[in-house]
């Protein structure tokens, strides 16, 4: 590892932006207008992009170096545990950092147009910059604990930005839901770290637990520690499996997988650039990144890998079915995001880490493009999000239409866009898996069906929005957006296209894809990047590719038949034919309702019971003891007042009376004193004489 201190610039530049727009943005905006805020908070992310790209080039130029590191100081040193405040950039985190800063900066530019004339303009950019800081900390962290700091930071920013328009209770609720659901995942993450600490840091014997000499959460040290302790068990479960599953619970929360996906559709309440940046391109992929980062852990546990892959595949299909019947354009994209994240988890779950990372990368571009296209449509429709009320926008918004079209090509896995290669690679790798707890063809089948549904619902959204009779808003046709918005769409669409060249499959070129070779140093722990290969030939790969193109074409065809020009009566008839099924799916399988009944209401009941107990029993006890104390105090006061004070006052009165009597002697007249003196002398003499006479001296 080479020391490269300037790595810190990458996260700190957006942090500076967040500070500047957070502290001075309000005044800047009042004084100089939105432009001043924009210069600061859009400029700094671009600088961060420059820094990230520079660092990655430097890493790549040093061929034999696997990672750049930047250590500041020792953060925590307790017993055998030592945690450094250190960043770490290998090829995976370098790719992530460049992607995050590039897509993030583009979305910042877009937001200038989207958030125009919003009074919270400066606040929005402060949060967005803060998010970039947290996200970059997450991906560049050199150890799990620092990663966790970023992990919590992005959760916070997500909460702040979902509830950005906080005057609407619905938005505030959605933010809270996202935060609370994420807490469940965070618990898993934390528990995973503790299990690693417990299982790897010390030793168990008859006498109990003994802390170890050395433990580290550093990504460079963990594989070595793990290799020495892969056979250890906690409560009868191997440590890697337990830790892997717990970390995956964390990943489920952040990356919206079953059963913790429910927050993501509600998170669409935030501004659309937020949905694009946080809830599509970057933050929600943090879970995938975590699994890829901890590849050494998952490789040690086929069980944990199976869990990841099965949950991913199930989510991919499940969310796709819901996406088919949603009418809110952002909700469609939200379910599509959940589904696509499921694909990535299958990729990393079957050990094809590079395929998962590749889909993560391409998805960031085309999904950001889709979301921002949807944002452009929403702006044109004056914040109407219901696709049933849209139509014919393609004629008046050509830029938005064609970028959206191309991003649809990419996500649905039609050839000539990057999504085709990344998704097909995952499908192929899933099929080509053996040795996990679930057969490869089964995973493939789920993903294959999901791909067909994806094609259907994405093209459905395209046809509903852009074809047919052009709608009128207040008697006028919607208009194309300004170049600051359409330009960003174009750049993202180009990115979604260009990225396909790094993922051209082995079946075509005869050599592993360029992206696989690029990531190989990160994932080759004493072997190939591929872990559980079934050894299928390239003929099968080509066949599967044809099959997935066919299923995508079928989805496209159905959408075209049902929705093109919005003239077909087929969807109505289908709905009438299967009313209960339609309701079930449209109401999202009543998962939210189930959670509400199973978790939320009991929690509320419990808190109500606790509140009753508090106000009646606890308060009663407190009040009783208060009353007793008052009574005692009253008695004590009476004793004080009458007995003690009486004694003290009596003494004082006595002294006073004595003084009044004695002062009479003090006449102040000199002759009186003199007479007293003389008399006293005489008396004394007489006394002495008398004593002498009495005692006979």
């Amino acid at each position: 590892m080479t020391e490269f201190r300037l790595l810190w610039l990458i996260p700190l530049l957006p942090l500076l932006g967040a500070f500047l727009s957070g502290a001075f943005g309000y005044r800047l905006q009042r004084r100089f207008g939105e432009r001043a805020v924009a210069v600061v908070s859009v400029g700094l992310p671009w600088l961060a992009f420059g820094a990230a790209a520079w660092a990655l080039l430097r890493l790549l130029s040093q061929g034999d170096v696997h990672a750049l590191g930047a250590r500041l100081w020792t953060w925590i040193a307790v017993g055998g545990l030592k945690v450094e405040l250190a960043l770490h950039m290998d090829r995976l985190s370098g790719m992530m950092a460049v992607m995050i800063t590039l897509v993030g900066s583009l979305i910042h530019v877009y937001s200038i147009g989207y958030m125009k004339k919003d009074e919270g303009f400066w606040r929005f950019f402060a949060f967005l910059n803060l998010f970039l800081f947290a996200m970059l900390t997450l991906v560049l962290a050199g150890n799990l604990l620092l990663l966790f700091v970023g992990w919590e930071g992005v959760g916070l920013c997500s909460y702040l930005l979902i509830g950005f328009w906080y005057r609407d209770l619905k938005n505030a609720r959605a933010g809270m839901k996202a935060f609370v659901v994420n807490r469940i995942g965070d618990f898993g993450f934390l528990a995973g770290m503790l299990v690693l600490f417990w299982g790897l840091g010390g030793s168990w014997s008859e006498a109990g637990y003994r802390p170890g000499e050395f433990f580290s959460l550093d990504f460079a040290e963990l594989p070595r520690l793990l290799s020495g302790a892969a056979q250890r068990t906690l409560w009868g479960v191997p440590v890697p499996t337990l830790a892997g599953v717990l970390f995956f619970v964390g990943a489920c929360g952040k990356s919206a997988q079953i059963p913790l996906y429910v927050w993501l559709p509600d998170a669409m309440a935030g501004p659309t650039p937020v949905s694009a940046l946080i809830h599509a391109a970057t933050m929600v992929t943090a879970g995938v990144y975590l699994v890829a980062r901890l590849n050494f852990l998952y490789l040690a546990s086929p069980t944990a890998m199976t869990v990841v892959a099965v949950v991913g595949a199930a989510t991919a299909l499940f969310a796709a079915t819901i996406g088919c019947v949603q009418n809110d354009i952002k909700k469609v994209l939200a379910y599509s995001t959940i589904s696509q994240l499921g694909y990535m988890f299958v990729g990393v779950g079957v050990g094809a880490y590079w395929a998962g990372a590749y889909h993560l990368l391409t998805h960031a571009f085309f999904k950001a493009c889709l979301f921002l296209g949807a944002g452009s449509v929403i702006l044109a429709m004056h914040h109407e999000q219901d696709m049933q009320k849209m139509g014919g926008l393609g004629r008046v918004m050509p830029f938005t239409r064609w970028t959206y079209w191309y991003a649809c090509v990419a996500i649905t896995g039609l050839p000539l866009a990057s999504g085709f290669f990344s998704k097909d690679e995952i499908l192929w790798q899933a099929y080509n898996t053996a040795g996990l707890g679930v057969p490869g063809w089964f995973l493939w089948l789920l993903l294959f069906l999901g791909a067909g549904l994806t094609s259907f619902y994405m093209w459905r959204s395209y046809f509903l929005t852009f074809t047919g009779q052009t709608v009128k808003i207040h008697g006028e046709e919607p208009e194309e957006q300004r170049p600051v918005i359409t330009g960003v769409l174009a750049v993202l669409a180009v990115g979604a296209g260009v990225l396909m060249f790094v993922g051209l499959p082995e079946a075509w070129l005869g050599a592993p894809p360029a992206f696989e070779q690029y990531l190989e140093p990160v994932f080759k722990h004493g072997g190939l990047a591929r872990v559980y290969p079934a050894g299928q030939g390239h003929g099968v790969e080509l066949l599967l590719m044809l099959a997935s193109v066919a299923v995508a074409a079928i989805g496209l065809g159905l959408a075209w038949w049902f929705y093109r020009g919005r003239s077909s009566a087929v969807p109505e008839r289908l709905r009438a034919a299967f009313p209960r099924l339609h309701r079930l799916v449209q109401d999202k399988y009543y998962v939210d309702e189930t959670y509400d009944a199973a978790v939320v209401q009991p929690t509320l009941e419990l808190s109500r019971a606790a509140s009753w107990f508090d106000s009646r029993i606890i308060d009663g006890l407190v009040n009783l003891s208060g009353g007793v104390t008052r009574l005692l105090a009253f008695l004590d006061g009476a004793i004080d007042k009458y007995l003690v004070d009486g004694l003290v006052n009596g003494l004082a009165r006595l002294v006073r009376a004595a003084g009044a009597a004695a002062r009479r002697w003090q006449t102040g007249r000199l002759p009186n004193y003199l007479a007293g003196l003389a008399l006293g002398t005489i008396v004394l003499f007489a006394l002495v004489r008398l004593l002498q006479a009495a005692l006979g001296w």
Binding site: R664, Q666, G668, L670, P671, A675
Partner: protein
Amino acid sequence: MTSVGLHHFVLLSAVLFSLGIACAIARRNAVAILVGIELMLNAAALNLAAFSRFGALRAEGQLFVLFVIVLAAAEAVVGLALILAIHRRLRSVDVHRADSLKG
């Protein structure tokens, strides 16, 4: 005719002392009080001189008399200064009016 002996002197001294103390107690004029005190001092001095002549004391008696004379002079100075101060303040030397020590 009996010769003059010790007890004559002592008797005279006692008379002088009694007159002095009566003067000091009874008079209201501060100067008169000072005179009474002078009388008492001189009664004591007379006693000392007599003891020096007839009693066991020798030269010490005479010496004490000298001390008493000096003491009386000093006392008169201090006393008169006090009286002047009182007079300046009260425009009177009546000791009954100088009663600020009254309790």
